[in-house]
Amino acid sequence: MSKPSFEAWREKWQAFSDGLHEFYYAPYRQTLARAARDEEDLFMMMLFAESLGVPNPVAFYALELQPIFLEQFHDWHTRMGIEKSPFDHFGCC
């Protein structure tokens, strides 16, 4: 049995809208992902600045946030060229 025409049109519109999104985003996907990663690296740097010996005015909040970013921490320190976790209290590998 054929689908109701409204449903069929809605699906076509959705497909068109998805294609348009892809057309808009895809050429810059890499550039945007890279920018997001750079931003995240800066944020991680701020989170762990105090532990690295750099005075941090928001150390209290940074310390509170550290456990939440445990999973990203490994990716970050390896991206920064540090093979093993530089902290004794915050090991991940």
């Binding site: 068109f16 809208s17 294609g19 348009l20 999104h21 892809e22 057309f23 808009y24 895809a26 050429p27 810059y28 996907r29 890499q30 550039t31 945007l32 992902a33 920018a35």
Partner: protein, 558 residues
């Protein structure tokens, strides 16, 4: 000759190329395999490697490769008559450009989606890779230089286009904000964006803007060039979501609208081509058709620049290997269609032969101005658009094409300067602002250094852009030929275009060398020599690699 006949024959030729020749190349030569796991699947990362619907990918590929070049090249080349330009565009698209673009995507897909530089390094060797880097740098330099001059000339010749061309930046900025900050629906934003752009095109003729013909000892064209490069430098430093991404997007939509209106107008008006089939009355100083035709029209017939896009981004998103035929070959057909419309506009959009000859009074005089003038006449007669509005619409179309290519070109050149900074340990060049300034200053020096304060150098350099582009295409065809030989497959379909391109490129470079020497254009002469040396080295590299591979092929066959 009626332009509709030209249009239909051209379209039929390209359609035949797509339905028959591309199928033959895809099945018998590249042996595209729907079961082959493409890098988009094998290395899927949600960023670079993403399997993409073939129609969407064709849209990306086409709008990335289509710039102002398929308009400028054919509009200059019709000075030799419409027939040579027509034949080169149609035959070039069918037998060279389509195969080249498919080949570049295929080579990259079979090499884990690597860029053309990396593929060259893997398949041919380090020397060829170094040559490629030089060719790419020169290519970007010439694109930025030539396009900067072309847009500046358009701003002066069509003051009504100033408001829409610069207003398009505001529209793009608003689209960027609407999508990223306010998360509005993209289809809705697109409709509003396109309507806003066409409102500006309507507004343009009512508010024409001109600069004084001379200020502080510099012409208005010179000032526009400086304004354009200042803008390009700023745009390349802004986050891409703010300006470049929405600008590329709105420009892509506008490309489909503009091309559609022009094609419908040609069909409705059906003007006669007033230019001669082969021009026997060439203005003094026009160079010989062979080899200059084959480098004056590069994009639109065959373009090495496509290889960079094909291997850089398209190949990483190919869902099924068999999609390469549609995305690559049909992408080249799209650009061929743009070049065909440029030929018709620049030869059929004039009332009489005398009018056409008045525009084509010297080599390089026709250019994009003839496309706009002729195309506007056709649109005026075809769909009844006001003449000034048509001129504005086509100027905006050409200027936005050139502008987005320039934006990307300056950004890529900045990356190259930063890379040089890393290689030669010059940390000062790693700074984004300084690297951008360096890239822009080189371009501006080249524009004024080769053409004086009116920036004529941007167009003088145009044939050098063609030769550099064809060299790049030659290198891509070499890589593919070697890959085919190693698989024991006939490689004539890529080798013959390669030999033809390299031969024409070198002949053109030698011809231009004499002309630059006679006119004492030393900077252009130096550039010509650099490209000639690169062309000779590329040819030697081709000969050496192919000589090594040929006996293996004979053994495989035995």
């Amino acid at each position: 000759m009626n332009s509709v006949v030209l249009l239909l024959v051209g379209l039929a030729g390209m359609a035949g190329g797509f339905f028959f020749y591309s199928r033959f190349i895809a099945n018998k030569i590249f042996k595209l395999d729907p079961t082959f796991e493409t890098p988009a699947h094998a290395m899927q990362d949600g960023v670079d490697y993403v399997p993409t619907n073939k129609y969407v990918l064709w849209g990306h590929h086409f709008t990335s490769v289509a710039g102002a070049a398929p308009i400028i090249g054919p509009a200059i080349a019709v000075i030799w008559g419409w027939l040579p330009a027509f034949l080169w565009v149609i035959l070039g698209t069918i037998f060279m450009a389509g195969v080249h673009d498919m080949a570049a995507i295929w080579a990259s897909v079979r090499n884990r989606g690597q860029s053309m530089g990396a593929v060259v390094g893997n398949v041919v060797g380090g020397r060829a890779r170094a040559l490629l880097m030089i060719v790419i740098f020169l290519l970007l330099l010439m694109v930025n230089t030539a396009f900067g001059t072309v847009i500046a000339r358009m701003m002066v010749s069509t003051p009504s286009a100033v408001v829409p061309v610069w207003g398009a930046l505001i529209v793009a900025f608003m689209i960027g904000q609407a999508i990223y900050r306010y998360k509005l629906s993209l289809p809705l934003v697109s409709i509003v964006g396109v309507v806003a752009l066409y409102f500006l095109i309507w507004l343009g003729p009512k508010v024409p803007i001109t600069l004084p013909s001379e200020m502080l000892g510099m012409s208005d064209i010179g000032w526009w060039i400086i304004i354009l490069f200042t803008y390009a430098a700023i745009a390349s430093l802004l986050p891409v979501w703010m300006l470049l991404q929405p600008r590329d997007y709105i420009n892509g939509l506008q490309l489909f609208v503009g091309l559609g209106v022009l094609y419908v107008s040609i069909l409705l008006f059906a003007p006669d081509v007033v230019a001669p089939a082969v021009n026997q009355n060439l203005p003094d100083g026009t160079p010989s058709i062979v080899p200059l035709l084959f480098v004056t029209i590069a994009c639109g017939a065959i373009s090495g620049f496509h290889g960079l896009v094909s291997a850089g981004t398209t190949a990483k998103q190919i869902n099924k290997e068999t999609d390469i035929r549609f995305v690559g070959y049909f992408g080249a057909v799209g650009e061929g269609m743009l070049a065909l419309s440029a030929i018709i506009a620049a030869t059929a959009g004039f009332a009489a032969l005398a009018d056409w000859e008045a525009v084509y009074s010297a080599f390089g005089k026709g250019s994009v101005g003839a496309f706009i003038q002729g195309g506007a006449e056709i649109m005026n007669q075809g769909v009844g658009l006001d003449k000034e509005l048509s001129v504005t619409m086509l100027t905006v179309m050409a200027a936005l094409f050139a502008g987005t290519t320039m934006d990307t070109g300056v950004r890529l050149q900045r990356y190259i300067v930063q890379e040089f900074g890393e290689i030669y340990r010059l940390p000062v060049l790693n700074n984004g602002v300084i690297a951008t300034l360096a890239a822009v200053i080189i371009c501006v020096l080249l524009v004024f250094g080769t053409g004086g304060s009116d920036g004529a150098g941007g167009l003088t350099i145009w044939p050098l852009f063609g030769t550099t582009n064809q060299l790049m295409a030659g290198l891509t065809l070499l890589i593919v030929s070697v890959m085919l030989l190693r698989r024991g497959i006939k490689s004539w379909y890529t080798l013959l275009p390669m030999v033809f391109l390299l031969l024409m490129t070198m002949l053109a470079l030698v011809t231009q060398l004499g002309s630059f020497y006679a006119k004492e254009q030393w900077l252009l002469l130096v550039l010509d020599v650099i490209i000639l040396v690169a062309a000779i080295l590329v040819s030697l590299e081709c000969a050496s690699v192919l000589r090594k591979e040929w006996p293996k092929k004979a053994n495989n066959a035995a």
